[in-house]
Amino acid sequence: MNVTTLTTLAQANFPEAMSQITLAHYLVISTAMFTIGLVGFLTRRNLIIMFLCTELMFQAAGIAMIAFGRYHLDLSGQSFVVFVLTVAAAEAAMALALVVLLFRRKESLSAEEWKDLQG
């Protein structure tokens, strides 16, 4: 199957309004999410919020991958995202376990509370 037929097939049932959204739109969203996540991670001091920020960065990569996959008419982008979601779930489970562990010791979620280790 050549590329042109694939293109037309993929776009057959798309409303016209959707086709005016280009790759650039998705990339802007994803870059914005990534930047918000990064800035949030560096500025916020609540452990849960910091973890959410890293999740935001993961999902930004996911959006970029799906958009690129659509752009290249290639499914590996989407399959990548499935694996990313799995890893994100594993990280979420670990993050919550660790945060609960810390909360029990200090009754606080602030990263500032934890500075036993300083040289």
Binding site: P15, E16, A17, M18, S79, V82, L85, T86, A89, A93, L96, A97, V100
Partner: protein, 131 residues
């Protein structure tokens, strides 16, 4: 340009309608009960469960770690299913090609076997024991 945009947006009409109805239902219930609902204050009325048992102790109680473990087991199976969907969709096509199909079946079976290991681990750890 604007015309085509407008005609396309028409196809989203049902969704918009459902959203409006949902929002309307929620808002209407709140507003109407505020307007017409009877208001009586009292000791019984102020309880957490108006006609249930009396709450005991603080709400900031520590939960048993089992709840966390159950959530973890759920997560394992939940994520597992995500991988089964693409496999299930493509498998009919692969199965037609005789030898490849069997191979793909064994692959997913191996994948499922890893879940069995996780399950077995949870079982021995005592996650499913409630006593």
């Amino acid at each position: 340009m604007m015309l085509t945009l407008a005609s396309d947006l028409k196809s989203y009409m049902p969704i918009a309608l459902i959203c409006l109805m949902a929002i309307g239902f929620g808002v209407a219930n709140v507003v109407l009960s505020q307007l017409f609902g009877p208001r009586r204050q009292g000791k019984n009325k102020g309880q957490t469960y108006e006609s249930g048992m009396n709450p005991i102790g603080t709400a900031r109680k520590r939960f048993n770690v089992r709840f966390y473990l159950i959530a973890m087991v759920f997560l394992v199976f939940d994520v597992e299913v995500v991988f089964l969907y693409p496999w299930a969709v493509t498998f009919p096509n692969l199965a037609v090609r005789s030898d490849e199909g069997l191979l793909w079946l064994f692959r997913i079976l191996f994948f499922l076997l890893t879940t069995v290991v996780a399950f077995l681990y949870g079982y021995r750890k005592g996650v499913f024991k409630f006593d």
